[in-house]
């Protein structure tokens, strides 16, 4: 790229450490939400009728999170739907956002992934500029602001609902935050699930989830909740043993964020299926 001159712009006194703020001031065209907002906005007349909905586009579905013995677990299925079609069977909806936090998203796939990407850069940017990472609380609040900025798109049907988890090093515990479409932030103590199969996953978690669960057991509970959601909800994809597509599960504890290996998931899924057959 030709050398742009963000250099000049930074010589101002307002030394925000926010990348989002930097983009909105110096490069608004790069903010996905801002751009869409401008495109869509002229059609909203004050007091007039709602603009037409956007055509069908890929949507991601069930994601869940709960606390277990060492920290917090976050998981999601792999299906994206587009109306009554399956748009993708291998979509990733769970993202590591920094060393001690991760987020999962349900909603319109494009804006979802954009938000996750932006949020990850945001946290890294803050850490580099400021010399220390944001606190768990600070990260959760900041994500709320980003969801709020997305609100005009929600009116168009481009809903993005994130679920944020982090390991709070001060409290030495895992924390879960859920959001509403206006950016409202609510902390959950035990578990939560969002997306089209969210309710089914929550019902399953309610039965099996305990704070004292050891790691291995927690992974099992997460898989079972996702399988239950897939059985009840068309938008949620279950594990596909033929194509070897398994849900994404990440564990966040005092050592950081790590993925549950595919081989572990494969054997746990198979065990779950055999048990279902026997029942």
């Amino acid at each position: 790229m030709p050398f742009e001159t963000p250099f000049q712009a930074s010589f101002s006194l307002d030394s925000h450490s926010s990348f989002y703020h930097y983009l909105s001031v110096h490069k608004p065209e790069l903010l996905p939400m801002a751009k869409w907002h401008n495109l869509i906005n002229p059609s909203i007349s004050p007091g007039g009728s709602m603009p037409t909905q956007v055509p069908p586009l890929p949507h991601g579905t069930t994601v869940l999170a709960f606390t277990y013995q060492q920290g917090v677990l976050i998981a999601g299925d792999r299906r994206a739907t587009e109306g009554f079609q399956i748009a993708s069977t291998r979509m990733e909806k769970v993202f590591q956002t920094d060393e001690f936090s991760a987020m999962a998203i349900a909603g319109a796939a494009g804006p979802c992934m954009e938000m996750a990407k932006l949020f990850r850069i945001e946290l890294e940017h803050y850490e580099k500029l400021d010399g220390q990472p944001l606190t768990c609380e600070g990260k959760a609040n900041h994500l709320g602001q980003m969801v709020k900025a997305n609100f005009p798109l929600v009116l168009q049907g481009l809903v993005v609902i994130p679920l944020f988890v982090g390991y709070d090093q001060k409290r030495e515990s895992g924390r879960i935050f859920k959001y509403d479409i206006t950016g409202g932030r609510y902390e959950e103590t035990d578990f939560h699930a969002v997306g089209s199969g969210g309710k089914d996953a929550r019902n399953s978690l309610k039965e099996h989830c305990k704070k004292s669960l050891p790691e291995q057991e927690a992974v099992r509970v997460a898989l079972r909740a996702l399988v239950n959601a897939a059985e009840e909800d068309v938008g949620t994809g279950g594990p596909d043993v033929f194509r070897r597509i398994y849900p994404t599960i990440k564990l966040v504890d005092h050592q950081g964020v790590r993925d549950v290996e595919e081989s572990t998931l494969a054997s746990l899924c198979e065990a779950l299926i055999t048990r279902r057959q026997d029942e």
């Binding site: 250099f7 712009a9 990348f19 930097y22 850069i121 500029l129």
Partner: protein, 227 residues
């Protein structure tokens, strides 16, 4: 009507260069050196909270000598530039070469057009996938760039340090321990007293790390390395 006061361009540039050099000469030095697993940064910096070495992007680190507020604003600009570029294209497209070019352009413009030149020297390093792929850039107050592969230094005593290192450093890439000892000794050679380990700021770009390669080496770890 009085004639405007005339200063020849040569004289003006010379004055500015002298001014900038004087400012930099007061600053402490920083060394970057390639070692087996990456690039080592060592700064003579007694402060525990104000850093001279910083991460810019996945495999790029920055360090500045001279006036703090000036290199700090350059550091921030570099991070902003890198993050925007990485977001627009891909993370691999952010390179030290393009950043060094940007810094050079900017310092060059400031040197010739602003009232006061920046009293800074910058050191930019990118760790490569193999030792022969490392890139080290040294950028001066007037925008001139020097690129190196094995080691470089900036700050007040940089020339003396470079002379010492050219003599002492063997052809082979040193281990982390040897590199750290060498950097520590070279600070001793160019000043009257050897700064103790507490007075050094140490960081590495470690090619074996996944994702972000930059890591600060804290005092305890530095002691372990030297043991």
């Amino acid at each position: 009507m009085p004639l405007p006061y005339y200063v020849s361009p040569e004289q003006m540039m010379q004055d500015r260069a002298e001014y900038a050099k004087k400012g930099i000469a007061k600053g402490r030095s920083i060394i970057a050196m390639a070692y087996g697993d990456g690039v080592l940064f060592v700064a003579d910096n007694p402060s525990v909270s104000l850093f001279k070495i910083s991460e810019i992007y996945d495999n790029i680190a920055f360090s500045g000598a001279g006036k703090y507020n000036e290199f700090e604003s350059l550091r921030k600009a570099g991070i902003q530039h890198a993050d925007v570029k990485g977001m627009m294209y891909s993370r691999e497209d952010v390179t030290a070469r393009s950043l060094a070019n940007g810094y050079s352009q900017m310092l060059g413009t400031i040197f010739s057009q602003e009232m006061k030149p920046y009293e800074v020297e910058l050191l930019l390093a990118q760790v490569g996938e193999t030792p022969d792929r490392n890139e080290l850039y040294r950028i001066s107050f007037d925008g001139s760039i020097v690129d190196e592969q094995r080691f470089t230094a900036i700050g007040g005593r940089s020339e003396a340090i470079l002379t010492f290192l050219r003599k002492e450093l063997s052809e082979q890439c040193p281990s982390l321990k040897d590199a750290l000892i060498l950097c520590h000794t070279s600070f001793e050679r160019v000043s009257d007293s050897k700064p103790n380990l507490e007075g050094l700021e140490i960081a590495v770009l470690d090619r074996n790390r996944k994702g972000r390669k930059f890591r600060r080496v804290l005092l305890q770890e530095a002691r372990q390395i030297l043991e």
